[in-house]
């Protein structure tokens, strides 16, 4: 047998992988640097680099930053940038996974009731737990998280009783019904408590405004667990592309893969939503933009989504807090306002060159 084409192809694949990794790492690093350098208080790049270098064991440099500036860097900007990165990466990856497992380009991580459930949970917390500062842990993210997970579980249980168990379309329709019901409930509660309208509204549009390391610590385990699980399924998501029946006929259980992927993506999305509200568009735009440029294999789409989703949301958050500084634009508005034109640009260019 002629082995030459195998090695050539493998070498080519490896080369593409290395090149992509470099591009992704660079864009994450650049966006992180921009995220910590730009803000109301100017920090010089040199001092920031010195501060970062100081964290490396065995290196001591005088950064020249005042205690206040150092606190701004480490207690305000850094956790916010890291959180934006985690949320963005998680949402993009979960979106990509949902699109794969449902073979539906319009699927996003909120498809099966995560958003509506989280919205209801958050509204309940805001409306009926007025003095949240008195709690040992803030109840808002917990309520949003619980609502998100509950929304998807109800969707799954209802979708299961459909004619074809766990068929993609049955699940999506159950998700639509559950989301409509939960949103109606949420709207009703909001109407009954109109004094909290503003707070609920701003939560729904998404915000990374009040974060510290606490939120990062809160979602990090979920992002690792969820992201790690989704990466394990990267090849099986490619197999799912041939449809449930054919996937079953090559020896996997499409229902089992779908359940595992939905569970993992839901956990990560619910954690992200709990700390940042409903940031739309990331889960659709980022994976599709990646797909248009590098093709349809989830082995590349998933890890690249993690990186580009992180970079995208860090930059979106940067814009959200700088354009009208010191006021902030809801980050969900930024992701759609800048994300949509960018996406259309990628779409039109990829058509022209394909």
């Amino acid at each position: 047998m002629d082995l030459q084409p195998v090695t050539t192809r493998e070498r080519h694949t490896a080369k593409v992988g290395v090149r992509l990794s470099i591009i992704v790492l660079l864009s994450v690093m650049i966006s992180v640097l921009l995220g910590i350098l730009v803000g109301a208080v100017g920090l010089s790049a040199g001092s920031v680099f010195a501060e970062l270098a100081n964290k490396v064991p065995g290196i001591t440099v005088d950064s020249g930053l005042s205690t206040r500036d150092s606190a701004i860097l480490w207690e305000l900007r850094m956790p916010r940038v890291v959180l934006a990165g985690l949320v963005g990466g998680m949402l993009a990856m979960a979106g990509a996974a949902f699109q794969g497992v449902f073979r539906n380009p319009l699927a996003d991580p909120y498809l099966l009731g995560v958003a509506a459930g989280a919205g209801l949970g958050a509204t309940l917390a805001i409306a009926y737990l007025p003095d949240q500062t008195q709690w040992p842990v803030s109840p808002l993210p917990l309520a949003a998280f619980a609502g998100a997970v509950l929304g998807v579980v109800v969707t799954y249980v209802l979708g299961r009783s459909g004619a074809r168990q766990f068929a993609a379309s049955t699940l999506i329709l159950a998700g639509v019904a559950v989301a409509a019901f939960l949103t109606a409930t949420q709207t009703f509660i909001q109407q009954q408590n109109s004094d909290t309208f503003r707070e609920v509204y701003s939560w729904i549009l998404g915000a990374l405004g009040t974060v510290g390391w606490g939120e990062v610590v809160l979602i990090l385990p979920y992002v690792i667990l969820s992201g790690g699980t989704l990466l394990l399924y990267r090849r099986l998501l490619d197999v799912m592309g041939v449809g449930d029946e054919e996937a079953d006929s090559v020896g996997i259980s499409s229902a089992g893969v779908r359940l595992a992927v939905v569970a993992a993506a839901t956990l990560g999305t619910a954690a992200a939503v709990a700390v940042s509200g409903l940031i739309g568009f990331v889960g659709i735009i980022v994976p599709h933009a990646i797909r248009l440029v590098i093709g349809s294999s989830y082995r590349l789409i998933l890890p690249v989504s993690l990186g580009f989703g992180a970079a995208f949301l860090i930059i979106a958050d940067l814009i959200a807090r700088s354009v009208l500084a010191p006021a902030e634009i809801p980050i969900g508005v930024v992701t759609a306002f800048f994300g949509a034109p960018f996406f259309l640009l990628v779409l039109s260019r990829s058509r022209r060159f394909s």
Binding site: D2, V6, D238, G241, V242, E246, G251
Partner: protein, 266 residues
Amino acid sequence: MSGLRLVDIVVAYNGAPVVDGISVQVPSTSWVSLIGPNGAGKTTLLRAIAGLVPFEGVIEIGQQPIAAMSRRRLSQVVAFLPQRPILPEGASVFNYVAIGRTPYIPYWGTETTEDRAVVEEVLHRLDLAEIADRQIASLSGGEAQRAVLARALAQQSDILLLDEPTAALDVGHQQQVLELIDELRLEQGLTIISALHDLTLAGQYADHLVLLDNGEVVSEGEPSAVLTEETIKRYYHASVRVVSQPDAGLSVIPIRPDRTVRGAGI
């Protein structure tokens, strides 16, 4: 080698039997074709053999009942090509064919160099090596059908289930695909079970025909025994002429009934 034995197979959808007590023997390395009118149960029977629908009765592959096999093990011995395979958008021909290696790859693993070598070999054999990097969705009908066949061959199973493998092809490509399947059968000792609408092609390529109607076997045997004008009239409600030519085998030619009456109206 893996022959197949089906005993009293019943498949019901919502309580209504679609396959109703079918027993068939498929000798190793033979080509058996299921024929019969729409809704006769051909596809359902193929899906039962592929382990895709629950059934009553016994399906044995080389003495071993498939009910006792894991899905993974079954997919190492049986490959199934549906009538309208989904060609994933954006996937290259190579990656599409590599999906056929799934039964041999650990659940969360990826292809080994050996798996890739099998894929390359299959692509080579089916003249797809040149277009291995093209997108599967951009292929012509004939190329796409070969790519789908390649994916099944990458499974390296002895039994190939083909549901209407020529449905979307012109007469030239129909012939090429069926010739290819027959070559592969002889070359690699495959056992083929196909469902075919085209009775002429079914008669020319299969060793043995099984005529289904309403989920039951109503006739089976050599093509010349099954493809008779009376049988086809009875089960397909079609007027045909069966012509046997020494150099071409059987041809089933549809005859337009009562042509003069229709023509007179125009």
